[in-house]
């Protein structure tokens, strides 16, 4: 695509040169014009291209950016405190620490989910895994939007900040994983709902456009879980994706449904290489 664009740019610039030659302009002037045009066009492309690689945090309003950067004002801090309490420390008998040790030992967990579970024969995301893990303790957590599940998810994502997503096919289940990824891509590009829009129409084709107080982002899921001001609560990627289905007036998948896991896998595959910068604030 880059090569196509550059070739197209040069071809158009060359056409301009010929037109101007016909008008009798000097060779020097032509070269200056061509160089300027090619430089402008390539920079215009670079701007568009770099927009596709921006985290949702880039599109926050100045006031939310300011709130996010101040731990004493950022409500996410409360969830991280709760996460640390739940994670526990050495003396706690029923803490995460008993099995996993320091939370930093699991810093590669968030970037690698959703993963293929051979036991369940389906994709599981980080919140699914937290719920499953808690069922082995005397304090099982119920529900993906359970505040304790989200607090632990926030803590695990915090420990992964700066690491890139690295979702990959498991060697023994590569075909199933690829099928799920393809299904996620299909969901991303299929029009749905009364608004008859696909994810790609906003998050690929209209990045940076203003929709009242919202600016359309590329939809990279680097900032989850999120404290959304309109929810006045922390929420998972599962909840945010369901909100998008609702936004286009489509049937909303059930929490934890395979459709949402497929879409999450595709989004994280699409964001491969971008650093995790969650948990974060959203409007």
């Amino acid at each position: 695509m880059v090569m196509n664009f550059v070739s197209r740019t040069k071809a158009i610039a060359f056409k301009h040169c010929l037109m101007l030659s016909a008008c009798g302009l000097s060779a020097c002037g032509l070269f200056t014009f061509w160089a300027f045009w090619a430089f402008w066009a390539q920079n215009a492309w670079a701007t568009t291209s770099s927009e596709h690689q921006l985290s949702g945090n880039h599109f926050l309003s100045p006031s939310l950016k300011s709130m996010q950067s101040d731990a004493s004002l950022n409500p996410v801090s409360l969830w991280l405190d709760q996460g640390r309490n739940l994670w526990g420390s050495a003396p706690d008998k029923q803490s995460c620490y008993q099995c996993h040790g320091d939370v930093q030992t699991l810093k590669f967990a968030a970037p690698q989910h959703p993963k293929w579970s051979a036991r369940l024969n389906q994709l599981v995301n980080l919140e699914d895994q937290i719920v499953t893990c808690s069922e082995r303790t005397s304090r099982p957590l119920r529900g993906l939007e359970n505040p304790d599940v989200l607090a632990l998810s926030a803590l695990l994502h915090k420990s992964s900040q700066g690491l890139p997503f690295k979702v990959s096919a498991p060697p023994n289940h590569a075909q199933q994983w690829q099928t799920e990824l393809n299904a996620g891509a299909q969901l991303f590009t299929t029009r749905k709902g009364a608004m008859n829009l696909a994810c790609t129409h906003c998050h690929d084709l209209n990045i940076g456009k203003q929709m009242r107080a919202d600016i359309v982002s590329p939809g990279h899921p680097t900032g989850f879980p999120i404290f959304k001001m309109s929810w006045q609560s922390m929420g998972s990627i599962d909840r945010r994706l369901r909100a998008c289905f609702s936004g286009v007036q489509a049937e909303v998948p059930a929490p934890g449904s395979i459709e949402l896991r497929r879409l999450e896998l595709f989004l994280k595959s699409r964001s491969q290489g971008l650093p995790i910068d969650g948990p974060s604030l959203r409007r």
Binding site: T190, R191, K192, G193, A194, M195, N196, L197, H201, N206, K209, Q210, M211, R212, A213, V216, Q249, A250, E251, V252
Partner: protein, 92 residues
């Protein structure tokens, strides 16, 4: 045009006479009354696919061919589309 449960045109378009938080996802509606005939405006609002098959404009008066729609009723009634078009025609 500003009701989130209805057309909510303001979510995508800049509407003449409304300042503050505006939108540029879709085109500015200033001048649409001069640019398009009444019949065309009805088609744009009701089902823009009949004018531009790959449009991003939702088909407010027709849910034929749509996937996984919820709720399954049309977003706007014929009467509501008429009111919207009446207003669009004044934006010249």
């Amino acid at each position: 045009m500003t009701n989130p449960q209805k057309g909510n045109c303001i979510a995508c378009h800049d509407l003449p006479g409304i300042s503050g938080l505006t939108s540029n996802f879709g085109p500015n509606l200033k001048g649409v009354g001069a640019k398009w005939s009444r019949d065309d405006l009805v088609r744009w609002v009701s089902d823009a696919r009949t004018i531009k098959p790959d449009t991003l404009m939702p088909p407010y008066g027709n849910h034929q061919g749509l996937v996984k729609v919820n709720p399954t009723r049309k977003v706007l009634t014929a009467e509501e589309i008429k009111h919207v078009v009446d207003l669009l025609q004044t934006w010249r």
